[in-house]
Subunit: 265 residues, 2 copies
């Protein structure tokens, strides 16, 4: 199945705050889907992606991982109707793939290993109860503080910054080449210190994708603030889990993607 | 072992091109290390990260993935001398962790599963033979074209753009929420079409980390151009593999991290 490029973003209702105005608006968010790849009927992995060119993505992933060697060995590639499963058939032994995939390296851009759908199911039955109310000037001040604290970013331009915050200040600050790693460092520290995070805010320079939202949900953190944009799947989850997602905090602008009622203009 | 924040970036020699000058300079690049996490003596994963707060990262990763449930069950955490291995011991059954980790979801920020060190070893014995020579004005024109082609980025601000190019034009363009996915789509298409990529350039909006460099090396692509910064590990590999890394192409500025002799000012 091919995906029309117009399907790769969708319009959502947001509250848009500019320097002196606060109003409802519609913005585009990029599509995010879980794409599961099977090799010779064995489930290999679920990638979170935009959903375009899924067959090339599956082939490229398998090739990149060394699970597919020669084009002659490729028998066929099938995509199911909803475009979320790609089945690849080869006449190369699959055991090699499994062996290669036994020890995985996760990238700077991630830190994942969940059984995606199980996690979704269990989280969706537990919407967060707490809410955090925050003023627009506090959002701007937190983002400004996040930037100020990252000497490493200013030096190298190579990291994402992340903080655990109250409405008034950043309590924990971490920076890493991986936006997921920065969140995991905070999760680890909170777990070790038995910190209650259910009244806190997670603030990040990275985009808000489904995994970042899921990590926050696991910590019962009710609100996320990002310098960057959110994806469609993260917003679907945020609605279901009763979470506030405030994004694109930059240059005086703020978008409340979800939970706009918790943002005081 | 704790890491001093001053160790998290290192200075490298680059060729810095501004609007009217081309000179040698020193810039900071962020540290990137492979961190391997063991749970009860079983190897779980290798994360690519900056190397700070590695114990919190390991604990947060295991907690986030559901492999660590209660603080009471945590027995001890050890980090080896070089700070690249964390050993976590619990009295929770490890089989659960393995079951949970049987089917993994990789994130938008990645598409990985290599046995990291094996890949490094095999790649390092095969430095690329081809080189691509490119003029500064061509670099700027390619980056400008990459931006122009991404209607999805302009609409949603939620994707990374990636292209396979000659010095004169972009041949293949892909955008995805994951910078690794965008590269894998290109790899898949080139593999299926049996395209020779050994004289091409990979151009991306994303940072150049080790995995992006490794994916390019596997395609024998000798040169990378990025709008963003590079990491220490990607540059170490680029030197060994004889690859050109041109980064931070924005606002008239360009940094040739490696292969400066292939950039014509």
């Amino acid at each position: 199945m091919s995906v029309d490029s117009s399907d790769l973003a969708r319009e959502v209702e947001v509250l848009r705050i500019t320097k002196d105005r606060c109003r409802h608006a519609r913005v585009s968010v990029v599509r995010e889907i879980p794409l599961t790849i099977f090799l010779n009927d064995r489930e290999i992995i679920t990638l979170l992606c935009t959903g375009a060119h899924v067959e090339n993505l599956a082939i490229g992933f398998l090739k990149s991982e060394g699970m597919l060697q020669h084009l002659n060995n490729l028998q066929r590639v099938e995509t199911d109707k909803d475009g979320q499963t790609v089945l690849v058939y080869t006449n190369e032994p699959t055991e090699m793939a499994e062996k290669l995939f036994g020890k995985r390296t996760l990238t700077s851009g991630c830190g994942k290993g969940t059984i995606f759908y199980n996690v979704l199911d269990s989280l969706q039955s537990q919407p967060l109860k707490n809410q955090v109310t925050i003023r627009v000037d506090q959002v701007r001040k937190l983002m400004s503080e996040l930037h100020k604290r990252s000497e490493l970013y200013r030096r190298s331009r190579g990291v994402h910054n992340c903080g655990l915050a109250t409405t008034k200040k950043i309590l924990l600050f971490r920076a890493d080449i991986g936006r997921h790693n920065a969140v995991d460092m905070i999760m680890g520290e909170c777990f070790l210190k038995e910190m209650d995070t259910s009244d806190k805010i997670l603030i990040t320079t990275g985009r808000i994708t489904s995994e970042i939202l899921i990590k926050a949900a696991k910590m019962k953190i009710p609100a996320l603030i990002s310098r960057s944009a959110a994806t469609s799947l993260s917003l679907d989850l945020a609605h279901k889990l009763n979470m506030t997602v405030i994004g694109y905090v930059r240059g005086g602008s703020i978008l409340a993607y979800t939970g706009g009622e918790n943002l005081i203009c």
